[in-house]
Point group: C2
Chain length 110, copies 2
DNA sequence: GCTATCCTCAACCATATGGTTGAGGATTCT
DNA sequence: AGAATCCTCAACCATATGGTTGAGGATAGC
């Protein structure tokens, strides 16, 4: 999980995940549109691999990358836990404002 | 969003978010259990602030930090989009294995 | 067999990051 | 007023990170 957030911290890596979600791609295909050398892209892919997000199978001389989205689950769970906190803030704010100017007003406005 | 993933890449910062989810805390309170100088903690908090996850209000000489979980929403949404991809993989795998060795066998083994 | 293609690896470089210390601003306490 | 407390800022340092190039391994194509 530690490594998942770390891997996703870089926009380039999130882009790779996005592209791989569509279909498996070779390293070259991934690197092509990425204003970066092949070796540079390869490094990013390796970071994703270490995070368990990408598996790479060798097909002849081509290295095919596929997404393994499963490790995203733990990060997602972590975030979702705190989602509980942000609506509460809104609720608290609403309660605060509602208290000042009749809560019924609010219900009626729906 | 870019900055949210970046801010959460560091375990120390995720810990801070966790603690602040319980209650607002001063910089000193946050730093206390954190094997790190006050200035060091302050830096981490500043990163979280830049990501919009923490707001800091000055109360006399004490700087109180409160969590603002709202920016987590975008990161959470990003992850949840890809959650669609990982169950499909499991389904595909199950179908693959199931086809090879009778799905009923698998159910019975539960 | 020779050459081109796809990719990784190692070395290298510049910059970012995570930490420290020391100085000092602003409050609070006595 | 003077001292202690809480915190930020700036300078500094070591290491991590993100990129490059060049060399070379393995495969594919001629």
């Amino acid at each position: 999980m530690d490594t998942v957030f770390h891997a996703l911290a870089h926009g380039t890596r999130r882009e790779i995940v996005g592209r791989l979600a569509e279909r498996a791609m070779t390293v070259g295909e991934l690197a092509a549109p990425m204003a970066m050398s092949l070796a540079g892209a390869s490094k990013h892919i390796k970071v994703l691999e270490r995070a368990g997000l990408v598996r790479q199978t060798v097909d002849g001389r081509r290295h095919v990358c596929h997404l393994d989205a499963a490790p995203l689950a733990s990060a997602s769970a972590w975030l979702q836990f705190y989602e509980r906190h942000w609506p509460r803030r809104l609720d608290a704010l609403e309660a605060l404002l509602g208290g000042e100017q009749t809560p019924r007003e609010e219900k009626r406005s729906r």
